[in-house]
Symmetry: C2
Subunit: 405 residues, 2 copies
């Protein structure tokens, strides 16, 4: 398999749109134009199984390259997850059990392939190399870098100055991630700007170990729905790619107007020229930003929920419940055949995409029945119940079998 030739517009789209920096850009472009399939490294931290739009920025970039014939190597970080990467974090993370890692990997992959082309992706586990790692192998990595080099990493430096504990194990994290690049012979690694240190260690280590050095592709951090901090599950300002259409639509609609154009640029394929025109319209106040934002929400929901149909339904629901402020009595009815339990109902009503997600939402207290939070996934749903998920999903139950009134 060889990759396709690249026209200047596509090239520009790849190396400019939604890209902060490429190290080394000229080499990356040369490799792209050489036409051989490149090995695109993507690491997955199984302690964070849920993908949100912040991650999607990078995944969309990978997909662009896949569409040119390049190959994604997804590394399941089952060993680094045992340490926990403190990049941008303030404390050492809890270790995961093997069982949790496996379950989280399943959750992740199901979301991952909403963006990534499964045909041009390969999944490998760190266990394949770290499972047999010896103490001599550890020395081989640790002897090449100094404590001071690593303590210079932004988050380490802050914690060290603040006298917060940094476990010695944590210094191993960037080394292991770097060794992944050596092991899979990565040609390009992708990450947010907060991953710059780790990704460059990978490049260095490949060079030290006699390998061609990977190109490093840094992307901006997507700001979350609060309009202030980077999107992050722990900050609660995220939009998960696995959230139900209504929820996702509503969350996109809730972002500040000031973020909208960044979201268009990083999360849609709307062409640059059109974006420029939208910006001009907004500056001249000749357009209603709400209409642009609805286009954004439609586009994003359609991407993650199999097309326009689901997106349009979500839009209709949003218009009814939020824009027109209608009461629950006036909301969509969902017909079911017989009384059923809550977790099954949410799936049937498209308020959740799977039983697992349904159960998570219920456990998190995100589900109301008739105005009261319901945490029992087995609660029975009856005729005329009003079921609400989060801020944006309301439905009224209609039971259509003979026993119902």
């Amino acid at each position: 398999m060889t990759s396709k030739a690249i026209d200047p517009k596509t090239l520009n789209n790849i190396i400019r749109r939604g890209v902060t920096e490429i190290i080394v850009e000229e080499e990356f472009v040369r490799l792209l134009q050489e036409g051989k399939p490149l090995r695109l490294k993507m690491g997955f931290d199984p302690s964070r199984p849920d993908i949100h739009l912040g991650h999607a920025v990078g995944l969309r970039k990978l997909r662009q390259l896949q569409d040119l014939g390049h190959q994604v190597i997804l590394i399941v970080g089952d060993w680094t997850a045992q340490i926990g990467d403190p990049s941008g974090q303030s404390a050492t993370r809890q270790m995961l059990t093997a069982e949790e890692v496996r379950a989280n990997a399943e959750t992740y992959l199901q979301q991952f392939f909403k963006v990534i082309d499964k045909e041009r992706a390969q999944t490998v586990w760190q266990s394949e190399w770290f499972g047999n790692f010896t103490l001599a192998n550890v020395f081989e990595l640790t002897r090449r870098f100094t404590v001071a080099q690593f303590l210079a990493r932004d988050d380490f430096a802050k914690r060290f100055r603040a006298q917060q504990p940094i476990a010695i194990t944590e210094l191993l994290y960037p080394l292991l991630q770097a060794y992944d690049s050596v092991q899979i012979q990565s040609d390009v690694e992708f990450g947010g700007t907060d991953q710059m240190f780790n990704i460059l260690v990978g490049r260095d280590l490949q060079g030290m170990m006699g390998q061609r050095q990977q190109q490093c592709f840094f992307m901006p951090l997507l700001v979350g729905t609060d309009g202030v901090q980077k999107m992050s599950k722990s900050l609660g300002n995220y939009i998960g790619v696995d959230e139900p259409p209504n929820e996702m639509y509503g969350k996109v609609m809730s972002i500040p107007d000031s973020l909208m154009m960044d979201y268009f640029e990083l999360l849609t394929d709307v062409p640059d020229e059109e974006l420029a025109e939208m910006r001009r319209g907004m500056d001249a106040e000749s357009v209603n930003p709400m209409e642009f934002k609805k286009r954004l929400a439609l586009d994003i929901v359609a991407q993650f929920h199999g097309g326009m149909a689901a997106a349009k339904t979500a839009e209709a629901s949003f218009e009814r419940t939020v824009q027109r402020g209608e009461t629950p009595e006036e909301i969509v009815e969902v017909s079911i055949v017989s009384p059923t339990d809550l977790s099954r109902f949410l799936v049937a009503a498209s308020l959740a995409t799977s039983r697992a997600q349904s159960k998570r939402l219920i456990a998190q207290g995100a589900v109301d029945i008739n105005g009261s939070t319901q945490k029992d996934e087995g609660a029975v749903i009856k005729q005329d119940d009003i079921v609400r998920v989060g801020r944006h999903g309301f439905v009224k139950v209609k039971i259509v079998n003979a026993d119902a009134s």
Copy 2:
């Protein structure tokens, strides 16, 4: 086997003489008096195969405890030697090959058993546990300590402040040494005060891993022949236990008078009362310190060269060549049966204790024949040659077979 009961004088000798600190002294005394054989940990760094009198201070303490029935566990640090301990050093050390480690261990053991009772000693290699160490095992150690804790170690702190490189590998050194204690279930570890950090990490780790914590026995650092710095091979102020009698005798005689009583205390069994009396005599200037120093030199040479005979010969040689400044023509004759090569001759003449040592001395340029340095170990020794080793050993060759003139 149970250890012997301890009279108060012996106990005092063990816990006071030549001891800087015991952590925790009361527990150590209780363990001693319990009477069960204790496991005494002694680590050997195979990158430093030669034992000098500075090391002998600790080995003599071990021997005292062996004589009460306790067991020495000697750990050959074939893994830690791959890192090199920077305690008190200023730079990362070169790695050794497996072959060098093996050869050095042989050299070491031959010297070690000049002090240690072979019958109550067991030798183990770190390979027995580190050879199968996994990355998970490494995490198990590294997650328990922080970077800041380790950078607080004196020599690390100095290098870090001075912006000298500290390889990440070096942080693993104290952890591996500590894990040795866990692995051999050490009851007591011994070391100079410069080993305090490492030895206490061992004690901590045992506790963290649910084991009874070792007692820690810290001994003063012996000052070298220059009277200023701690004895160290690299500073050239050392007296090796494997040096030939004349050389050893002469070096002891070269120490400043001010060090003499410390040497008596740390390196001989001359009773405390006698030492007190000697001190009084010196303070009153009623004695000649030279006589005391000759007693010290005799005692030390006798310890390491199988008794008084060799010591007396060394003394006689010293008196002739140094004290009376006699010329080489007046020195001891050594009779050999036929011309032989230089390396064999040095052993026959008791100027070296082994062929290996003999070859080392020649290679170092420490050997003269008729006033010229001779670096060829195969040089043939002839009638009337004057052979000199270092500053103190002169002999004249006499060949007694029929062919000699």
